[in-house]
Amino acid sequence: MFAIYKKELQSFFKTPFAYIITALFLFLFTLSFNRGISDINSAKMQFTYSDIFATNLFYFAFIVPVLTMRCFPDERKFGTEVLIMTSPVNVFQFVTAKFLAIVTVFLFMMTASLIYPIITEVYGTVVVPALISVYIGFFLWGVMCIAIGMFCASFSENSIIAAVIGEAAMLLLTFINYFVTSEYFSAHPKLQSFAMMFAAEDKFNYFAQGIIRFSDVIFFITVIIVFVAWTVISLEARRWKKG
C-alpha cells in the first residue's frame, strides 16, 4: 500500500501537476484575500478568514475534481490497473493509498495558503484560535470533496467525464442549502429537513465562526468514510461486470 502511495506522490510532485494546482489555488486565494483587505473601512479595521475560505469553497468544486479525475481512469487507460489488481494488494489498500496521496497534496496546498495569515500577522493581528478552527473546517471540507471526487472517478472510463461529474456533485453539495430554502422544499417540511442534513456548507459555517461542534466533525468524517467505501465497492463491482 505504501508503494502505491509513494508512486502517487511522485506522480504529483515529480511532475508540475501539484505545483500548478497549488499556484492556481493560491491565485484564487489572493483574489479573495485582496477583496477582504480592500473592503476594510475606517469603521471596522478587520476582515475574517472565514469569508475568504467560504469563497474558496466554491472554487474547490473546480480544483478538487482536477486532483481526483486522473486517479482511476488513467490506471485503466495505461492498463496498469491489471498490474495492481494482480499484485498482492487488495482494492481497499489501493483506494486508501490513492486517497491518502491526494489528501497529502491537499495538505501541501493548505500549508502554502498559510502565507496569508503570516502576512497579516506581520502588518496586524491574527486571531489564532479562530484561524485554527476555520482551517480544521476547511481541511474536513476538502477531504470530503476528495472522497466524492474519487468516487466519481471510480466508475468513469474517461478522466474528463470524471471531472465533470465530480464538479456537478460538489456544486450540488455547496449549494444544497440554497435549494433547501426554496419554495418547493418549504412546502414539504419532511423533505426539507432530510435534505438539510446534507447541507454541508451550514456545517462549515460553524467552523468559520470559530465553533467546533462534535456533530459537524462526525458529519464530515461519515461522508468521507461512506464515499471511500463506495469507491471500493464501485471498483469491485466493475471487476465483476466488465471484461
Binding site: 508503494a3 508512486k7 498490474l83
Partner: protein
Amino acid sequence: MITVEHLTKYYGRHLAVNDISFTINDNEILGFLGPNGAGKSTTMNMITGYLPMTKGTVNICGEDISKNPVKAKKNIGYLPEIPPVYPDMKVNEYLKFCAELKKIPVSQRKEQIESATERLKLQDVSKRLIKNLSKGYKQRVGFAQALLGNPKFLILDEPTVGLDPEQVAEVRNIIRDLKKDHSVIFSSHILSEVSAVCDRVVIINKGEIKAIDTIENLEKQVNQSPVINLKAKTSAYTADIIIGAVDGVEKILEKSESDGIASVRFSVSGKDVSEVQNSVISALVSKNIQIIETYTEKPDLEEVFVKLVNQPTKRNTLKEMVEEMQAKTPEPENSDKNKEDN
C-alpha cells in the same frame, strides 16, 4: 502447480469461457493457443485474479485465488496483453515500484531488479522515461516486471505481438531459459511460435478447450498417412513402377520429371515410415538408380490447428442444447448464481 477447474465466465449474457479445466505442472511451458477472441485473455485474467470467475476454481500452489488472493498472487508474475507501464516513470523507477508493490524484502530488491534488467537487456534504457521507449522495449519492461519477486508461475499474454523478428527470437530464448526455475503459460494465436517453445498446448476456441496435449501427440492426431518425398536420377515412369511395387507404399501422390530427375511424392500405409523409406531406397539402388534426396514430410501443424479449432462446439445441435438444459434443471443453486452474476 496450478489447477484450473470448471472455469466459466459470462460477460452479461455472453459466454466467454465455458467450463474449462486443465493443470499447469512445475517447470513446464504451456502454450495457450486459439484464434482472436477465443477467450485466452479472459482465462488468463481469471487465473491471475484480475477478473472474478462466474463459476469454477483456480488453485495456485494450494491457495484458491478467490478465497486467498493475496497469498495466491505472490506465486504469479503476469504480463498482460498491453504492458502495464506508467508512461511518466523511468524504467528503473517503475521496476522499483513494482518490487515494492510485490512486497519483495528490501534486502533482495536491488538484486532482483538488476537481474531482471540484465535478463531483458534493459540496462541501456533504465534511466529513460517509459513513454519515450519503443513498443518492443515497453514489452520488455512489462516482462521484467513479471519476473520480479521470482514467482513460480509466469503468465504471459501474447508476449511477442508487435515485436520484430529478432526480438521475437530473444523472447523465445528467455522463455526457454526461464523453464529452469519457473513454469510459463503463454498465449498466442500463432501456431509456429507455440510449437517452437511449448511442452504442452491447450487449444481453445469460442471459450472451450479443443485439445490439451503435447505437440507430437497433436501431430499424430491428424488422420493422414505419413508422406515421403524422393528425387532420383531416372524417368518418372520408372520411379513410379519401382516405388509402387515396394511393400508399404500406399499411393503415389505426385510424380514429375525435369532434366532427367524424377520427383515422386508418395504416402505410406500403417508401417514404420523409415523402414518403408529404406526399402524404397534399396529397391532403387538395386536397379542402379542414383538417389538425390529423400525426406519425410511432417504433418502440417496448421492443419491440426484448424481442424481442432473447427471441431463442433459442445452445444452444436438443438438436441444437445435441450439435453444440456435438462441436465441443468436439477441444480437450482447454480442457475440462481448465474442470474445474479448476469
